[in-house]
């Protein structure tokens, strides 16, 4: 039992690395918020463009969405972080992480919004058009609000998943929770910093999961 406590909950190690992990919580949080806001906004925009049903818009959007959903994000992160400097472009670790995760979330969000738009009965569009509303007006006031509501449970889950993927930043020097605690683990030779990391993730994600549950209940479509 003592050995267990010494390995995972050594008090001195705990106190020594707490400030660093706390700072890393903020890094993970703001990375997550930026990625979620930008990813969902871009996904929404792409779904709207796709709704125009022009093949020259649909084709690039579908290629983008399928590629980014198919590739493991870590591959993209490594490719851009270590590949681009060879072309003379150097991007910082956090920037690469934000770019890749935003693009991945945008791809999933676009598919979620698009699924909602196509699930909408045709009569909704016809009712809108028959009352003199234009395409964009029907999209904004009738179709999207319903598509968004239908998509909320999946969007919430995707957002949580993508925020956890900020841990991938640890391989390109982003000082988020996992990076900080695993280097502390290496230095101290104790697993306690990793326990701290687990606690830190719980601090962030338990409230998020509870909020997600509430959102799902609030917006799940009643027919």
């Amino acid at each position: 039992m003592n050995r267990f406590l010494d390995t995972f909950f050594a008090p001195q190690v705990f106190a020594r690395y707490l400030p660093e992990v706390l700072a890393a919580i903020w890094t993970t949080l703001w990375l997550g918020v930026v990625v979620i806001v930008a990813g969902i906004a871009i996904g929404l925009m792409l779904a709207c463009l796709r709704a125009a049903r022009k093949w020259w818009l649909t084709l690039p959007i579908v290629i983008f969405a399928d590629m980014l959903r198919a590739l493991p994000p870590l591959v993209l992160i490594l490719l851009i972080y270590f590949g681009l400097p060879a072309l003379g472009i150097t991007l910082s670790g956090p920037l690469v992480l934000i770019l890749v995760l935003t693009a991945v979330l945008a791809a999933f969000a676009e598919e979620i919004f698009w699924a909602g738009l196509t699930a909408l009965p045709r009569g909704q569009w016809e009712a809108g058009r028959a009352t003199g509303l234009g395409f964009v007006q029907v999209l904004i006031f009738i179709a999207l609000p319903q598509a968004v509501r239908m998509g909320i449970p999946s969007l919430v889950n995707r957002s949580l998943a993508i925020t956890k993927m900020t841990a991938l930043g640890s391989v390109i020097g982003v000082k988020e929770i996992l990076a900080v605690s695993s280097s502390a683990q290496a230095v101290s030779g104790s697993a306690t910093p990793l326990t701290l990391a687990a606690i830190a993730y719980l601090v962030i994600f338990l409230p998020a999961v509870v909020l997600a549950r509430w959102l799902e209940r609030r917006f799940t479509w009643k027919v």
Partner: protein
């Protein structure tokens, strides 16, 4: 006097199949014209051509003397304000309250102010007997109530003609009457209406003229007494006997 709605030499093809051929039909101001015919005869398609929800292959549609086929697609939205359409499936917007359903196009298409649109919406809801449901969500209403809201939504835009596509076909029998009553009131107030329906009793009572369609053409038309009492064409007789034996 120019008819309120005139369909002239209307033709509609879907690919190789001709669904409507050489349709001529006039609806005068204040008239209620009733369209009957077997499934697939093109009734809905004809109605949907009247606001270009379906694009006619050739022919003309005049609303109050103006050919809407000449309109550019950018003017189509304002033209559609002149026809109100009621669908079999209501198609209320489920994410908006009843009053918001009736306000939306007033505000966004007619550019009325919020207050004016709301007052007008309450007026229209009162006319269909649902002012007390203004703040309800559509899913909280019965089918008959939803359809009356859909009628109010169309009326709030001051259309010149109302188009009804089987407005009571999706309703439980005991709810049909409330919708038909609203339509009768509308007729009494002088609204011009083109109605596709299977409610033969209603046609006898309220229609000025009954049009029988089959296979994409108008087979015959006349006052309800004539069409129901003494149909001239074998196809009309066959259809009417089929329908009445089911009733």
């Amino acid at each position: 006097m120019t008819p309120m709605l005139e369909i002239a030499a209307l033709e509609k093809r879907f690919g190789d199949t001709t669904v409507l051929r050489n349709i001529d039909l006039k609806v005068r101001r204040g008239e209620l014209v009733f369209v009957i015919g077997p499934s697939g005869s093109g009734k809905s398609t004809m109605l949907r051509c009247c606001n270009r929800l379906e694009e006619p292959t050739s022919g003309s549609i005049f609303i109050a003397g103006r050919n809407i086929m000449n309109a550019l697609s950018k003017d189509l939205n304002s033209l559609r304000l002149q026809t109100g359409m009621v669908f079999q499936g209501f198609h209320l917007y489920p994410h908006m309250s009843v009053v918001r359903n009736v306000m939306l196009a007033q505000v966004k298409a007619l550019k009325r102010g919020e207050a004016e649109a709301k007052a007008r919406a309450m007026d229209m809801l009162d006319r269909v007997g649902l002012a007390h449901k203004a703040e309800a969500m559509p899913t909280e209403l019965s089918g008959g109530q939803q359809q009356r809201v859909a009628i109010a939504r169309a009326l709030a835009l001051d259309p010149k003609v109302m188009l009804f596509d089987e407005p009571t076909s999706a309703l439980d029998p005991e709810l049909v009457g409330s919708v038909l009553k609203v339509m009768k009131d509308l007729k009494a107030q002088g609204m011009t209406m083109l109605v596709v329906s299977h409610e033969m009793g209603f046609a006898r009572e309220a229609a000025d003229r009954v049009v029988f369609m089959d296979g994409g053409v108008v087979v015959e038309q006349g006052p309800p007494e004539a069409i129901f009492g003494n149909p001239q064409h074998e196809r009309t007789r066959a259809f009417l006997s089929r329908v009445s034996s089911h009733a």
